[in-house]
């Protein structure tokens, strides 16, 4: 579904990604792990069209995304929940969600989209007239995921959804993602919380210093000594 081949990306003179190759199949949940500064956000931004890659190919459902403007990529069915959520703080929950259905692809499914989002996050329905600025971190994350869902995506990408969220809410968000996946949406997840990510995902890649350092089935990676040492550590939370 999503195929990335030999991707190079840079900001000005600073090379961030080198020769990244990975894929996400339909119906899969794939995680991307790695230390801070490895380039995970850059990778997602490149796929979403916010950053033009220097080299390599990004193909989504057979189509080359390379030159498309970001809003057209959303139109193709590929949505990103960006790091830090990036909501429209001065607008209400309902308005943020409604804007998610802005693209032509999503407009016919707007009503169904609202049902899906409020069904997943009932809390949001009660707060639909509340300004997003005044919500807690966890609630804002729900709005962010909901807004991306409103675009009616076939592949949902998330950049560190658990950042700054209480553990109980993280579990809840992961559960929601599982449910979204069961409904047929593929998920590509960049996560700092390795335990949670590998608990959810089918497969995972590891990105270190701009290169793919490893990949495999989630269960295998959980047992991998390098991964355990680097990312889980002695203080890893046991579920």
């Amino acid at each position: 579904m999503l195929e990335i081949r030999d991707l190079d990306a840079a900001y000005g003179d600073i090379r961030v990604l080198s020769g990244v190759t990975l894929s996400v199949g339909p119906g899969e949940i794939v995680a991307l792990l790695g230390p801070n500064g490895a380039g995970k956000t850059t990778l997602l931004n490149s796929i979403a069209g916010l950053l033009r890659p220097r080299a390599g190919a990004i193909r989504f459902e057979g189509e080359d995304l390379g030159a498309l403007h970001a809003h057209l990529i959303v139109e193709r069915g590929l949505a990103l929940v960006p790091e830090g959520r990036r909501l429209f703080g001065g607008m209400t929950v309902g308005e943020n969600l409604e804007l998610g259905a802005f693209a032509p692809r999503a407009r016919p499914t707007k009503a169904a989209g609202f049902e899906r989002v409020y069904g997943l996050f009932p809390d949001l329905y009660q707060r639909r007239r509340q300004l997003v600025r005044s919500l807690s971190g966890g609630q804002q994350q729900m709005v962010a995921v909901g807004r991306a869902l409103m675009t009616n995506p076939r592949l949902l990408m998330l950049d560190e959804p658990s950042l700054g969220i209480a553990p109980r809410l993280v579990r809840s968000i992961m559960a929601s993602l599982a449910e979204i996946n069961r409904a047929g949406v593929a998920v590509f997840l960049v996560e700092q919380n390795v335990q949670a990510a590998l608990g959810l995902a089918h497969r995972a890649y590891v990105l270190e210093a701009g290169r793919i350092a490893g990949h495999g089935a989630a269960a295998d990676l959980l047992r991998d000594p390098h991964v355990r040492r680097a990312y889980l550590g002695p203080l890893a939370v046991r579920e």
Binding site: A79, R86, F88, E95, A103, R147, A148
Partner: protein, 288 residues
């Protein structure tokens, strides 16, 4: 005492036009992060468009708005496609600097063009009706009152447009975070185009009202750009109604200072307020 009150009322009446003038600038700056310092020249062009519409088509001066505003919208589209659409390709810092410079060049060129086409003489649109109504011992010129009410209506309409219209919401979203807007599927360039066109339309409307109640000439551009800038800095970005109130405040402040220090110092108070707010509180009084 009632002389002062009379002056303040007149200040309030022109303050509405300051607010309208500022609204267009504020919208464009807030959404595109572009500082079009030729905004005053766009107001000037609106004034001339109104003048010639009335002179050639014999329309009622206020009805000429129905001609001038669409023309201004089109001009805005043209200016965006031909000029400012290129400025938005850079990052925010560069955008502001470039738009300042480009606006400057555009203003000069438009000024010279206006003199070339219509001479440097002042033009005013004379309405077939006039007079004033008396309220609480104060005399309120009808034409200027009508202009204030129209300006208020336009601002109200703009507010509704931004609040209810699909693209109005897209424009607000783009103003807050254009990358997030892209990720939501909004064609940000289209939002920019619409915002710029509407901003120019507002300038055209302001120009029309200015040439009805007061007068227009090629050199009013700089003066009105400064007025608009002062109001934007006073009121901050983000609220059209707040901008309108900022305009009223400026109008009244000018009237008060003219009463206190004499007519010629009317302009100075706005500029001084401007500099003070810039240094002390760059976000303005209402802005977030």
């Amino acid at each position: 005492m009632s002389i002062l009150a009379q002056q303040l009322v007149l200040g309030l009446l022109i303050g509405g036009l300051y607010g309208l003038a500022a609204a267009g600038l504020s919208l464009v700056f807030g959404v595109l992060k572009v500082l079009n310092v030729a905004h005053g020249e766009l107001i000037m062009l609106g004034g001339y468009a109104a003048f010639w519409t009335v002179a050639l088509l014999g329309l009622d001066p206020f009805v000429s708005l129905l001609v001038v505003v669409p023309l201004s919208l089109l001009l805005g589209v043209g200016l965006y496609w031909g000029l400012f659409g290129f400025v938005v390709r850079a990052d925010e810092e560069t955008r502001i600097k470039n738009s300042l410079l480009i606006g400057f060049g555009l203003g000069l060129a438009l000024h010279a063009l206006a003199v070339l086409l219509w001479t440097a003489d002042e033009r005013s649109i004379v309405t077939p009706y006039g007079g004033s109504i008396t309220l609480a011992g104060l005399s309120i010129p009808i034409v200027r009152l009508a202009s204030l009410l129209i300006a208020l209506a336009l601002i109200g309409g703009l507010h509704l447009l931004l609040a209810r219209w699909r693209w109005g919401k897209a424009i607000r979203a783009t103003a807050e975070d254009w990358q997030a807007a892209l990720l939501t599927g909004i064609d940000v360039r289209r939002a920019y185009l619409l915002a710029f066109a509407i901003g120019t339309g507002l300038a055209g409307a302001a120009g029309t009202l200015v040439s009805i109640g007061y007068s227009t000439s090629p050199s009013i551009g700089l003066e009105w750009t400064l007025k608009a800038l002062i109001v934007v800095v006073l009121a901050g970005l983000g609220s059209m109604l707040g901008t309108f109130v900022g305009g009223l405040v400026l109008g009244v402040a000018e009237a008060a200072s003219a009463a206190a220090f004499g007519g010629p110092y009317r302009e100075v108070v706005g500029l001084v307020l401007f500099v003070v707010v810039l240094v002390v509180r760059p976000r303005g009084l209402f802005g977030r």
